[in-house]
Amino acid sequence: MIISVASGKGGTGKTTISTNLALSTGEVQFLDCDVEEPNANIFLKAKIKGYEEVSLNIPEIDKKKCDYCGKCSEFCAYNALAVVPNNILVFPELCHSCGGCELVCPKNAVNWNKRVIGIIEHGQTNGIDFYQGLLNVGESQAVPVIKALKRKIDKSKNVIIDVPPGTSCPVIESISGSDYCILVTEPTPFGLHDLRLAVDVVRHLNIPFGVVINRDGVGDDKVEFYCKKENIPVLLKIPERKKIANLYSTGIALVNESHEWHEMFGLIYSRIKEEVSI
């Protein structure tokens, strides 16, 4: 079973939910797909034992063969190649590695170079098989790092995925293929607005889902009304407490602080398992 934890709005508590869920169940694979700003390991504290590089194939033009016909730059949908009089320029950060330039080149002048855009780290803690992706600073494409991370999924295991905020490509890539998605929100106008967007995404992908309301009590009750109206199960409400904010700020997981939280996250996990198996 693959459970992903997403939110639309950033900072609502995705990482709190995903890490506590993992710690309460143990024996899971955990993937931090927020490769732009991964934070799960602040709470899981896995010792990183190894890493591998994620790279893209970038064209290198053999200038002895190239006659500057411009077919490649004309074909490239990403403007990653430009032909100027008697020269050709490659812009690696724009390239999506589609391979089109090589296909259209009549002179066979396109070779490929590897360009590292990030890494995947691996470690273990409390029975959790932990993986996180890290996009290099200055790189724009998170999706290839997320794809490489998702290739680590062991289908025989239960998997928990921490998803980046937002609703576009990195989010879709992270949650597609999940059996269940937990959407974390807060009871504020921003929280509700972005929850609606996230609901559109999971419905679009046909993934069963439920909602966790974090910082309950801080705003109004419109998120709950919305969930009721849309028939969306509210899995858990976490109250707004300075104590909880303080634990988070120091990197301490809720389940390690009190047995009640441990039980509560265990219950959510069983509930999801039941729903997925139907």
Partner: protein
């Protein structure tokens, strides 16, 4: 004309609430919501839309099943796993490169425009605003950010505004880079949590990578004063100014519920702290 981008690395640190507060303090500015994935600024600005423009992101493959001979060349050539073995297109994986259309021996694949969202130009009680929405499960948010920024620039020129304030997205990837390239200053909003600190370091590296001067605002600084001290020490070592330390106060949520920014809603301590911070920022903008 100067441009200021508000970003954070980590989501939910208060970018949008702080940007919204600036709207009551900036005298002659255009506002641009570049968090096109999950835009929220309009919930406070309540814009009156004056102009709507369709946004087309990257193209998408369209397979004509009547012409298709199931040779699987497209399936074999696609680097994005967007075509299945039985020649079914997974639309959200298609990055619009056109390789499938090129290799198809029977011209069964066409690359077509996709409706990816809308860009808007609006009037608000604070002045002109550029914003956008990206449709569900669409790509190319970076490209849409660029459209919003171009619209904001045009607005500023037309209305003779001397500042563009940009509300940026979380993260460090494509839409973030599109939100900050070429701007004069970056304000990074962080919070005194270990996650906040971790993400602050990465986003400051991004600003440095693109040679954009950055300064820092520590929001909710009093939820963990030890961590606040760590951030100040870190910034000091890096020679980055901390221009504001804002108190934790749920009044900011109450303002949001009332569709107002904090300056309009309250004259309390937090509003005063934001005013003071804005004065410093103004001074820095003047100096760039």
């Amino acid at each position: 004309m100067k441009q200021l981008t508000v970003i954070s690395g980590k989501g939910g640190t208060g970018k949008t609430s702080i940007t919204a507060a600036f709207a009551s303090l900036a005298k002659n500015a255009v506002f641009a919501d570049c968090d096109v994935d999950a835009a929220d600024l309009h919930l406070i600005f309540k814009p009156e839309i004056k102009k709507t423009m369709g946004f087309h992101g990257l193209k998408v493959a369209d397979i004509d099943k009547e012409k298709c001979i199931y040779c699987k060349k497209c399936f074999e050539s696609c680097k994005f796993d967007a075509i299945t073995k039985d020649i079914h297109l997974i639309k959200q994986s298609c990055e619009g490169c056109g390789v499938c259309a090129y290799v198809c021996p029977v011209d069964a694949i066409a690359m077509v425009e996709r409706d990816s969202g809308f860009a808007y130009i609006s009037d608000t009680r604070f002045g002109p605003m550029a914003h956008a929405v990206l449709n569900t499960a669409e790509e190319a948010s970076g490209k849409l950010v660029t459209v919003v920024r171009e619209n904001a620039k045009k607005l500023a020129e037309e209305k003779k505004k001397d500042l563009i304030v940009i509300d940026g997205p979380p993260g460090i990837g494509c839409p973030v880079i599109a939100s900050l390239t070429g701007v004069d200053l970056v304000l990074v909003v962080t919070e005194p949590t270990l996650s906040g600190i971790h993400d602050l370091e990465r986003i400051l590296d991004v600003a440095h990578h693109f040679s954009i001067p950055a300064f820092v605002c520590i929001n909710k600084y009093d939820i963990n004063v030890d961590n606040t001290y760590k951030i100040e020490k870190f910034c000091n070592e890096k020679n980055i100014e901390v221009v504001g330390k804002l108190s934790y106060d749920t009044v900011i949520t109450k303002a949001m519920i009332n569709q107002k920014n904090i300056i309009e809603f309250s004259d309390g301590k937090l509003s005063r702290e934001i005013r003071e911070m804005w004065n410093k920022i103004q001074e820095m903008i003047r100096k760039t």
